[in-house]
């Protein structure tokens, strides 16, 4: 047994442990999601159907939700079903949830990928730039701008953009981003502009400031002073000495912001009427569609866990101190 463990490199052990931890987190999250939505005071069927529901409908729903079974058993069935790809059916229209969620998932993913693809390089680049020029005018300008944007709530940014670009000032872009069910958002790419811009503006200041702070920490470190004293050229100091040390913290920042965006889309999609997961969640909550709420919340939670897991593993891989044992 001892031999076996020592045969695996410490790196693999570390990564496996991290993956196991992620899986455990997911399991606990699934419980939280299930019990938070399931254990409602009183009769769940009545909560779903409302006060005026008649007894037969209630009875039918109780059966469909297996409300007669003990809670633990229901959770178990639900979990097994989800793990085997059976997400259940919507209470509202009886359609398979997988089908409902798939296109919304796709739409949200498009929004997320677009936003991160544009924002991260820009915010990271400007963050590094501002750090390198800390205290000068360009840095102050960027920092103040970031602060101002960061102080605005996301719906204010969204509505502000609508006012400027889609209604009152100019009407270049569609104010709402609705697409007919079943059609791809790419059929009308213009609808993507405002939501992407809003999400980008919401996340930009956050990444920018974190990267700037991280980079300043690096630049003020003893080893950077040492690099100066070694007389290294500026480019070498920046690219060989400073940046590699900023990568690991930057990955954590990006992961946090991705996780945050997953939540942020809920509000933005609602504002723009964009048919993504967030909007789906809002609709489900309004119509008290428990199974759909559960699936979407679980998906968001899983995304969160996976992003953090990936970030931690990449961090381990790029940090020599974590990656290597003692020589």
């Amino acid at each position: 047994m001892l031999k076996f463990t020592s045969a695996i490199s410490p790196l693999m052990t570390l990564i496996c442990r991290r993956i196991a931890f992620g899986a455990l987190t997911l399991l606990i999250l699934s419980m939280l999601v299930f019990f938070a939505t399931e254990i409602l005071p009183g009769d769940a069927a009545r909560v779903v159907l409302g006060r005026a529901a008649n007894e037969t409908a209630l009875q039918a729903l109780r059966e469909q939700l297996h409300l007669d079974e003990p809670v633990a058993a229901r959770y178990w069935h639900w979990l097994v079903n989800i793990c085997t790809g059976d997400f259940g059916t919507s209470l509202v229209n009886g359609r398979p949830i997988a089908e409902l969620v798939a296109s919304r998932l796709m739409n949200s993913a498009v929004l997320l990928v677009l936003t991160t693809g544009l924002t991260i390089p820009l915010a990271v680049g400007l963050g590094v730039f501002a750090a390198l020029r800390r205290g000068r005018r360009s840095d102050s300008f960027l920092s103040v701008a970031a602060l101002v944007v960061a102080s605005l709530p996301e719906f204010v940014i969204g509505i502000g953009l609508i006012i400027v670009f889609a209604t009152v000032v100019v009407q270049w872009l569609p104010p709402v981003s609705m697409v007919p069910p079943g059609t791809s958002v790419f059929a009308r790419p213009l609808v993507l502009v405002l939501p992407t811009l809003t999400l980008g503006l919401v996340s930009f200041p956050y990444i920018f400031r974190m990267i700037r702070a991280t980079m300043i920490d690096v630049l003020e470190s003893d080893y950077m002073e040492m690099a100066t004293l070694k007389g290294l050229p500026r480019w070498r100091m920046t690219f060989v000495h400073a940046l590699p040390n900023a990568v690991a913290p930057a990955i954590q920042v990006v992961a946090l912001m991705l996780a945050y965006l997953a939540g942020g889309t809920v509000m933005i999609e609602y504002v723009f009427g964009y048919a993504g997961l967030g909007q789906g969640l809002m609709n489900a909550i309004q119509s008290r569609d428990m199974p759909v709420i559960q699936v979407i919340v679980l998906l968001l939670a899983a995304f969160y866990v996976l992003v953090n897991l990936a970030a931690d593993i990449v961090t381990i891989l790029v940090t020599p101190k974590l990656r290597t044992g003692t020589w």
Binding site: E220, S221, D222, Y223, E225, M226, A227, T228, L229, K230, G231, L232, P233, R234, R236, V240, H241, P244, N245, T319, P320, K321, T324, G325, T326, W327
Partner: protein, 605 residues
């Protein structure tokens, strides 16, 4: 200090009237410094922390930390006038003409880059002219030159190895001048001795001049040809090392020397009175006035000029020529308690392990009430484990520990409040005993409320009294650990231990991270507590000189065993174990001040 021809090519370094000030021009951190160095010469720069040594050292590379600038003066190294160069030209000259060895290589080497990369870029700077390989560089500093070592990252090497890598980096370009900022502070004595020898050899063989910054005069004595003593940004005394050490003319130099325990003498150390200046020279009077016992009204009227007291030995003190005030280093041996007093602690067959590894084997010894027992040994010999086991902090310990007729159980939680009060433990790192989120005062008061019955109303007064004992300013009471300097934090930790009136104090390397002057104060305090209040101590240190100045008996440890024990004097003058002899040999000492021949020539002493 004397007029130097700035174009004199025989001198590697010539600095004239250098001033480094804050950019707001409020403080002069280095003021009116002039010095010169010949090829191959080593100049030691000593002073308390905050005196401006690092600022001066960095200025020699034309570098100032954020918020500082070179305000006046010229710096010439190897024919180049550094003080006139622009940033890009300076950057070109650094690492080629002047190199730097940092205080703490663990933070100064880049954690993300391999040793190979960091060494190689020092060679690249050097151009194609020379043919030095990485292997040669590592061999120069006696490091393994295999691919494995070059492939390692800094965190995979020990402190001593890192420091040698840093030195190899500095010598790689064969510069004219190397500035070393406390390169051995924090290393154990044998590693330090290695590093010092390496530096000396390299400077000699490559004809490189060096400025060696340290707060420890004993270290400087063993390496520098000349020594400069810095106080509040000024060089107050400079001359051949032997001349400065054995015939110091400035009151500050004398105080500093008295603060350093000498391995070859039994004299106790005495701390410097008053607070070290918080940076910046006094432009109107002698900066040392507030702490000087010899001050006369004239000292408040002018800044004393540098005057020669002997050829090549200059002093900034109006009363330097006044010789009658010089008294001998006091030779006060801490009193031996002998067999008069009772055994306080009786350790029988103590063993301890970490997991499967046995750390301590069969430790048996006694401590009598009122005596101080020193524990010495190389790093890894089990000193800390022994200290922790006695303090009840090491759970995995077996054997009998009898304290005042009753057996001590292991695990502090299992001991009653009085035993916990009676035995106090001070850590090597004061962070261990101070809560980072509570003020120092609150942390110290907690000890009172948990272990004693002192009423709440009296606690503040007791805390202030304890602060006073350890020379902490009363204002520290509301500050948080991170707002204090390392020395102040350590003193707060000591205050926390002393406030409950312990009978037995376990000190684990408590002064290793401190400035000599702060160390001296703490040693003085502990000596006083021992003499006047009968405090019993176990004093762990790798520094034999420190142990000699406080402990009546000493235990020498190696590989988890006591290999030698006895009266300190007997053990140090007549060591029987090989480790003891090695430790003695590696200890830096005053007597090896290099320019011994100078003494004969000039008839000093």
């Amino acid at each position: 200090m004397q007029l130097i021809d700035p174009c004199d090519e025989t001198r590697t370094v010539s600095v004239k009237n250098l001033r480094v000030e804050t950019t707001d021009n409020l403080k002069q951190l280095v003021e009116d410094v002039s010095l010169e160095l010949l090829p191959g010469e080593i100049l030691g720069v000593v002073g308390e922390s905050g005196s401006g040594k690092t600022t001066l050292g960095l200025a020699l590379l034309g570098h100032c930390r954020r918020g500082l600038r070179i305000g006046a003066g010229t710096i010439r190294v190897g024919g180049e006038l550094l003080s006139d160069k622009g940033p890009s030209e300076l950057q070109r000259l650094r690492g080629r003409l002047v190199c730097y060895v940092p205080q703490d290589p663990a933070t100064a080497l880049n954690p993300a880059l391999r040793i190979r990369t960091q060494l190689a870029e020092c060679l690249d700077k050097n151009g194609s002219g020379r043919n030095i390989s990485l292997e040669d560089l590592l061999e120069d500093v006696m490091l393994p030159s295999g691919a494995g070592f070059l492939h390692a990252f800094p965190h995979q090497l020990s402190g001593g190895q890192l420091q040698r890598v840093a030195i190899a980096m500095a010598f790689a370009a064969r510069p004219r001048l190397i500035v070393m900022d406390e390169p051995t502070t924090g290393l154990d004595v044998s590693t330090q001795s290695h590093v010092l020898k390496t530096v000396r050899r390299l400077c000699e063989s490559h004809r490189v001049a060096a400025v060696y910054v340290s707060h420890d005069i004993a270290v400087v004595a063993s390496i520098a040809n000349r020594t400069a003593v810095v106080y509040a940004g000024r060089i107050v005394e400079m001359g051949p090392t032997a001349s400065v050490l054995f015939d110091p003319s400035h009151p500050y130099t004398r105080a500093l020397i008295r603060a350093v325990p000498d391995i070859d003498s039994t004299a106790t150390v005495s701390g410097l009175a008053g607070q070290a200046p918080d940076g910046g020279a006094d432009l109107k009077r002698c900066s040392f006035v507030p702490r000087c016992a010899l001050a006369v009204p004239a000292c408040r009227a002018t800044v004393p000029p540098a005057v020669p007291v002997r050829p090549g030995h200059e002093v900034r003190c109006l009363r330097a020529a006044d010789r009658e005030h010089i008294h001998e280093r006091s030779r006060l041996l801490p009193e031996e308690t002998g067999s008069r007093s009772n055994t306080l602690l009786d350790v029988r067959q103590l063993t301890a392990s970490h997991g499967n590894a046995k750390i301590l084997h069969d430790i048996t010894f006694k401590i009598r009430a009122g005596e101080c027992v020193g524990v010495v040994g190389t790093s890894g010999s089990g000193k800390t484990t022994l200290a922790r086991s006695l303090a009840g902090l090491h759970e995995d310990a077996r054997g009998q520990v009898i304290y005042r007729d009753s057996e001590l159980v292991s695990g502090t939680r299992n001991r009653d409040a009085d035993a916990r009060r009676s035995i106090q433990y001070i850590f090597q790192s004061p962070y261990g005993s101070l809560n980072p989120r509570r003020s120092i005062g609150a942390s110290v008061a907690t000890a009172l409320s948990q272990l004693t019955t002192v009423p709440a109303a009296e606690r503040r007064a007791r805390v202030l009294k304890a602060f006073d004992q350890v020379a902490l300013p009363a204002s520290a009471i509301d500050r948080f650990p991170h707002e204090l300097s390392g020395g102040q934090r350590q003193r707060a930790a000591i205050a926390r231990a002393l406030i409950v009136d312990p009978d037995f104090l376990i000190c684990d390397e408590i002064t290793s991270a401190l400035d000599v002057s702060v160390q001296a104060r703490i040693m003085e305090l502990l000596g006083e507590l021992q003499r006047e209040h009968g405090l019993t101590m176990l004093f762990v240190s790798h520094n034999l000189a420190v142990v000699r100045s406080i402990a009546q008996r000493v235990l020498v440890m190696q590989h988890g065993r006591i290999v030698e024990s006895g009266l300190t004097e007997a053990v140090l003058t007549n060591p029987s174990a090989a480790v003891t002899r090695q430790l003695l040999q590696d200890a830096p000492r005053f007597s090896c001040a290099r320019s011994a021949e100078y003494l004969e020539e000039h008839d000093v002493v």
